[in-house]
């Protein structure tokens, strides 16, 4: 049963991911991306990582995608702009490379057969929180600096000429 769900979500994820890289319209890409994020979030949920699934939806599908959309709107990329994007030699090569990479990975990774142990309380917000503020305090703090730097960066880079 869960395998069916898995396939549903997996197909949703992969299909929308393909749409992200295939659509011509940037806006469509963004929406496809949102769909991908949702698919991934569902998979998180299937893996009992409910907290992460929530974060995925909130941060990714919410915050990050809004940013993207905001920028797309800001730039007001018209159709003409989009049409210029054509398949090129590099693009073909890129697809070949990507396909090759996928093949390598699939060939070797599909060999993993282990299943998942039954666990109580896996992925609960409590466990995650504890780990984050004890064992992983250092990376957590570093992450906060990352965000600080990002803030500074945005200020510095996107500020209009004075």
């Amino acid at each position: 049963m869960s395998l069916v769900f898995f396939y549903v979500f997996a197909i949703l994820t992969v299909a929308s991911a393909l749409c992200v890289i295939a659509f011509r319209n940037t806006l469509s890409c963004a929406f496809a991306l949102v769909s991908t994020f949702f698919g991934v979030a569902c998979l998180y949920a299937m893996l009992e990582a409910h907290f992460l699934a929530a974060m995925q939806v909130l941060v990714y599908a919410g915050a990050i995608m809004v940013l993207f959309l905001f920028v797309i709107m800001l730039m007001n990329l018209g159709r003409e702009e989009i049409l210029k994007i054509k398949m090129s030699f590099v693009g073909v090569l890129g697809i070949l490379i990507g396909g090759y990479l996928a093949t390598i990975l699939l060939l070797r990774l599909s060999g993993l057969t282990s299943g998942f142990p039954q666990l109580a309380n896996f992925g609960g917000i409590r466990e995650v929180g504890r780990a984050m503020f004890t064992d992983f305090l250092v990376p957590f703090e570093i992450t906060s600096f990352l965000l600080l730097i990002a803030v500074v960066g945005v200020v510095v880079l996107a500020r209009r000429e004075t």
């Binding site: 991911a17 057969t113 780990a131």
Partner: protein, 101 residues
Amino acid sequence: MTPTLAHYITLSAILFSIGVTGVVCRRNALVIFMSIELMLNAANLAFIAFARHRGTVDGEVLAFFVIALAAAEVAVGLAIIVAIFRKQGTIDVGEIRFLKG
């Protein structure tokens, strides 16, 4: 029938490859960013699958950091794009090539 680790990891590999393909193929800087997000998501999926497989919570914490990192990166990246767009009026990376050789 439940999906095994292999299913998830395979899926994440596909997702990763799609991300790489997107980065390589597209000339639109925004779409490139999106493809990068796909790669990060693939990693996250792997993290969580492994965490589930190992039964440790570490992977989830790591995935959380990645989400935060992604947010920070996107912010900076979009800021750069905005700056460039203001100056050049395009986000086609094929046209932004003053530096070469």
